[in-house]
């Protein structure tokens, strides 16, 4: 009876099976004739790898379609079920026939390439055995996957695309698919590794092959094969379109999320001077071979000073976390030259500076650190145009208000000369702060912005200013759309009102009056 089944399959699919046996050779010739690949790959076996990656899955999918899917779709399996032999035998014959075909095709391709490359490949029995074992492992995996896949009937295409999308997504998130099981068998060493047996990869592949074969047989046998028959029903055009759209969206979402989700590793600085103050952690190290005593002192001093300064700020603002700060001393930089260390925001803030340069000012470094670290802490929201005036304000006001304990109003009145150049103080100007900055220049804008906080502290008390700054800067923001939503749903104006009882209009009016009162 088994022989009869085999004959039936050969008679029914003989042409297609024969064609599938020849098809890879066409592919192999095509790949081998591809000059660039030959030069880059350097050996025929690289062509086999490409063949196994491209043609073999296609051939296996076609085999699944021919031997399984079409049988169930056309309901001809019902006739076979009427024969006096267990259903499992019928599936077994189909499985074995297809597997033998792809195995034969692969071994023939390997043999053909080995013959072609006999002079430029150092073929040893061990190398040949390694090539064969890896190829057979991959073939078994792909074929059993296609076999199980064929039972999914009308959901084959969506499932296949979902699988592909999943793999792409995993790769984009950093999972090294190429070092896992069957994929490791066909990695870029396939054509060259002549010595090491991929024992782990082969074992994992064997496990997967057994699992997939079991899954395929279960789908084909469970509930008298009615599940497979049901899945094989034709898909309506609406169902097709919905699934197409669903898959496209899935692929797009995976691509977008994968593009933006990049892993980061925590930064360590062995041998760095570390100072902590509350939630603030500052590490300072020297990028020099042997720091001098003066440099070592400067590192310690800078670590302590920066931690104290930022610690006081975060205590004042009520921050429950803060990005770690890394300062790297570089002898080749000029005093006052601070270069950004290009860490991911999750990793913290890294700045390179020459801490021992003549003319180096620690206050300038602190100002730089306050600005950049608050930017990271708020996921960049602090420097958005609608909030930028507060961002500028705190940088000016914080050191001058003796860490928020005095209003600094007199200093604001003394140093602020930019106000007359503005026609008026309106909420609209707060919302277009970049234009104000462009018109007045950086330092006058900082001073102008700082005077707003000074006025607030002077007229409404330093606690009022603190409440407002707490509302604006305390909470650490995530680096995604949530930060934007938080900022939009609770704007700076709303926070100002909640903290001080002043609307933006009242605030700017009061500010304008206060500035007009300033002494000559």
């Amino acid at each position: 009876m088994i022989r009869g089944l085999i004959e039936k399959e050969l008679r029914q699919h003989g042409f297609a099976l024969g064609f599938l046996l020849v098809l890879p050779f066409a592919g192999l010739l095509l790949i081998l004739s591809y000059g660039v690949l030959q030069r880059a790959g350097g050996g025929g076996f690289e062509a086999v790898r490409l063949l196994l990656y491209t043609f073999l899955p296609l051939a296996s999918l076609v085999l699944g379609q021919l031997l399984i899917a079409s049988e169930f779709r056309q309901k001809t399996q019902l006739f076979l079920e009427g024969l006096p032999l267990p259903r499992a035998w019928m599936l077994g014959v189909k499985f074995a026939l297809g597997f033998l075909l792809v195995l034969l095709m692969t071994l023939l391709a390997l043999g053909y390439v080995a013959l072609l490359a006999r002079n430029t490949e150092a073929l040893t029995p061990r190398f040949a055995a390694l090539l064969a074992a890896k190829a057979v492992g991959w073939v078994a995996f792909i074929y059993t996957l296609s076999f199980a896949h064929a039972f999914l009937g009308r959901y084959r295409v969506p499932f296949g695309l979902a699988l592909l999308t999943g793999l792409i997504y995993l790769i984009s998130t950093g999972v090294e698919i190429s070092s896992f099981g069957p994929f490791a068998l066909l990695d870029n060493r396939f054509a060259y590794e002549r010595y090491v047996w991929p024992v782990n990869a082969l074992a994992i592949t064997a496990g997967l092959v057994l699992g997939l074969a079991a899954l395929g047989f279960s789908l084909g046998l469970v509930r008298d094969a009615t599940v497979a028959a049901m899945l094989a029903e034709r898909m309506s055009s609406r169902e097709k379109l919905f699934l197409t759209m669903f898959i496209l969206v899935g692929i797009s979402v995976a691509a977008i999320v994968g593009e933006h989700r990049q892993n980061v590793a925590p930064v360590e600085m062995p041998g760095a001077f570390e100072a902590r103050h509350g939630v603030v952690r500052v590490l300072v190290s020297a990028a020099v071979d042997a720091p001098s005593r003066e440099e070592t002192e400067a590192l310690k001093r800078t670590a302590n000073a920066a931690a104290t300064e930022l610690g006081a700020l975060t205590d004042y603002l009520g921050c429950d976390s803060y990005p770690p700060i890394f300062i790297v001393h570089r002898r080749d930089l000029k005093a006052g030259e601070f270069t950004y260390g290009e860490l991911k925001p999750k990793q913290g803030l890294l700045v390179r500076a020459n801490l021992t340069a003549p003319g180096f000012k620690i206050d300038a470094l602190h100002t730089w650190l306050v600005r950049e670290s608050l930017g990271i802490h708020t996921a960049g929201m602090a420097d958005r145009e609608r909030n930028a005036w507060v961002f500028d304000a705190i940088q000016w006001w914080w050191p001058r208000s003796q860490h928020g304990t005095v209003s600094a109003w007199e200093e604001a009145q003394r140093t602020e000369h930019a106000a007359p150049r503005l026609l008026d103080f309106t909420p609209a100007q707060l919302h277009t702060w970049y234009s104000v900055r462009k018109k007045l220049g950086d330092e006058p804008t900082d001073a102008l912005a700082g005077s707003s906080l000074a006025m607030l502290a002077e007229r409404h008390g330093v606690e009022s200013a603190q409440r407002f700054l707490f509302a604006r800067f305390a909470r650490r923001q995530p680096y995604d759309a949530r930060a934007w939503w938080h900022d939009i749903l609770r704007s700076t104006g709303a926070r100002l009102h909640a903290a001080t009882g002043l609307s933006e209009k009242q605030f700017t009016a009061e500010w304008q009056v206060a500035m007009a009162d300033r002494p000559e």
């Binding site: 000059g35 062995p270 759309a481």
Partner: protein
């Protein structure tokens, strides 16, 4: 009647309309929930770089979906007979169908532009430059044209019915094949190139050749599809059925359909193929003959027997070279022999190539033994880098190319090279640095580096990196770093400098010290080679269109210290090749305008002197040829 007919067609296409709208809403919504919506300012350069491909893909996909069934389905489902019974001409039915398809496909650019407008509105600040309305309008128009063209093409191919995939694949195959064989005018039919208007100084430069070709193509496709639509009916079906009964024709048809995957894959291979114009075997000996093998302690040499005399000294000196590399890296010898293939070709412009434990360095009969040992040393270092990093250095090629080539160059120069070789390399570093600093972070991102500077910088600056690593962290530092790359618990998904920082941390090496040392090495090279740097005049150029060529006229002050060279990327959208422009007698360089798609032209200008192996280039320049 027209309105009813159009409404009927639009109703039939409703699922596509819903799909396009739903996808657009979902993707726009995703940006609102996953990214910073107020950091998505519309920028033409960014659109061309990031969004163009997505828009193109959607246009292709939906055009094919729409066009593949719109006309022939009426015939297949026998509803054409009903339509024929109505007091309507086939032409009118065709026009309404095409119009409906065009209206639906126009939703793709409409939603694209719509989402750009929404995000721009959210992201704009008071100091942003004026909104690029002209670019957006042009892009919208070009996408409409692209949609119409692709739908027309799909409508025409749809008459091949079950052969749709095969014919589409054949067309793609033919397009790529002919283009790579020199029919550059075909790029005017490249829809991806159509969607790339240049935006320079707030002015839009429309790719008119592509616009004209697509307009003409679309008219032709619709015309042919209209003729085909007029001809389908019972008589045509009868003829097809009759032909289908011929067994040999049936077999041929089935066979041809089965070829579709081959055609598609061949097309893909061609798409990925480099435009390798060099003659096969030009850099390797020709003629087959008997082959020989020679085993040494560390190598297995394969060569043509006819070249045994040239191979013999290399074989004899091979193990010494190997020991030198081992000594320099401080690595244990590999557990298996390295295969050295002296007979197979390598990629163009390379003298050697390594894949895992196999080296290829074709003998050409002219190279001296010293030079061969340099190559062998260089390539053997690559073998060790791969082995010690467990293949991760090539897996993270973008991040590690500089170190792969840099360390190999470092070992080559220090273990095998002579003082003049090291001088050449130092001058290359000085020349590159004098044209603009290349921070270590940029060097560790090969894609970003190649967008700003010449792709060969990975060799000299990579060598500076390797030198800085060894100088600042000790002689065993490369080994420690490579082992750190190979560690099994390394976090995945890191990229750029982040990957290097992590690996160096794991190796107990300070990234920042290495970065400082690298800057110091490069600055010292500039200082040491100041006379050489001073002798290289800075280069600028004017670019004009002249007699079907793009002509680059270099401008510099002072005496030329060597030969001027000018390079560009061959305009293949998939696999662009770094290619030199032809030098004219008057000192200008020319490039056939037909080989160039897009409105702006990018080029590199440099000096090739006896002071360096490779030219010292200025950074990439981009301009609109006038």
């Amino acid at each position: 009647m027209n309105r009813t007919l159009l409404a009927k067609e639009l109703r039939a296409l409703r699922p596509y309309t819903v799909s396009i709208l739903a996808m657009s809403v979902l993707l726009t919504g995703l940006l609102f929930f996953d990214e910073m919506p107020d950091a998505q300012r519309f920028d033409p350069a960014r659109w061309l770089d990031k969004s163009r491909f997505g828009s193109f893909l959607f246009l292709v996909l939906f055009s094919m979906l729409l066009g593949s069934g719109l006309l022939v389905q009426e015939s297949e489902e026998r509803t054409l007979q009903f339509l024929d019974g109505l007091p309507l001409s086939r032409t009118r039915v065709f026009v309404m169908k095409a119009l409906a398809a065009f209206l639906v496909i126009s939703l793709v650019p409409a939603t694209d532009v719509g989402s750009d407008l929404i995000f721009s509105a959210v992201s704009r600040t008071s100091i942003d430059p004026p909104f690029a309305w002209n670019f957006m309008a042009t892009e919208f128009g070009l996408q409409l044209l692209a949609g119409a063209y692709l739908v027309g093409l799909a409508l025409l191919i749809s008459f091949t019915r079950a052969w749709f995939a095969l014919v589409t694949g054949l067309l793609l195959f033919a397009f790529v094949w002919f283009r790579q064989r020199g029919l550059y005018w075909l790029s005017n039919f490249d829809t991806y190139a159509l969607l790339s208007p240049a935006y320079v100084n707030s002015k839009v430069h429309v790719p008119w050749p592509q616009v004209c070709a697509h307009l003409g193509g679309a008219l032709g496709f619709y015309g042919l599809a209209w003729l085909a639509f007029l001809s389908i009916g019972d008589r045509a079906q009868f003829t097809i059925d009759r032909l289908g009964r011929l067994r040999w024709l049936g077999l041929l048809g089935t066979g041809a359909r089965w070829i579709a995957p081959i055609v598609w894959i061949a097309g893909l291979i061609l798409l990925l193929q480099n435009n390798d114009t060099s003659k096969p075997g030009a850099d390797s000996p020709v003629g087959e003959g008997a082959f020989s093998q020679r085993e040494t302690k560390h190598y297995l040499f394969l060569f043509r027997t006819s070249q045994a005399a040239q191979a013999k000294p290399l074989v004899a000196a091979g193990d010494i070279a190997y020991e030198r590399v081992v000594g320099y890296l401080g690595a244990p010898p590999a557990s298996t022999r390295v295969v050295v293939d002296l007979a197979s070709p390598v990629v163009s412009h390379a003298v050697g190539q390594t894949n895992w434990t196999k080296i290829r360095m074709p003998l050409n009969g002219e190279t001296a033994l010293d030079e061969l040992l340099l190559i062998l040393g260089h390539e053997t270092t690559h073998v060790f880098i791969e082995q010690l990093s467990d293949g991760r250095m090539s897996r993270y090629f973008n991040e590690c190319r500089c170190f792969h080539e840099g360390l190999a160059t470092y070992v080559e120069l220090n273990a095998f090279g002579k003082e003049p070789d090291r001088d050449l390399n130092r001058r290359a570093i000085a020349g590159a640095w004098s044209r603009g600093k290349v921070p270590l972070e940029l060097l560790m991102n090969d894609g970003a580096l190649s967008a700003k500077r010449e792709p060969t910088l990975a060799y000299p600056l990579g060598e500076a990196f390797a030198q800085a690593l060894i100088d600042s962290q000790g002689h065993d530092a490369p080994l420690r770093v490579l082992r750190a790359f190979a560690r099994s618990n390394a976090p995945g998904g890191l990229s750029g400098a982040g990957l290097w920082r992590d690996s160096m941390q794991a190796a107990g090496i300070s990234f920042d010290r290495v970065a400082a040392a690298y800057d110091a090495v490069c600055a010292a090279a500039v200082k040491q080679e100041q006379p050489f740097v001073n002798a290289l005049p800075r280069l600028a150029a004017t670019v004009r269109l002249e007699g079907g060529n793009i002509v680059v006229q270099p401008i510099f002050a002072g005496l030329p210290p060597g030969q001027l060279v000018c390079c560009t990327y061959d305009d293949d959208p998939v696999a662009p090749q770094f290619t030199a422009l032809r030098r004219n007698h008057d000192g200008t360089f020319s490039w056939p305008a037909a080989r160039h798609t897009g409105s702006t032209f990018r080029y590199l200008l440099g000096w090739h002197t006896t002071g360096t192996r490779l030219p010292v280039f200025e950074p990439w320049a981009e301009t609109v040829p006038k």
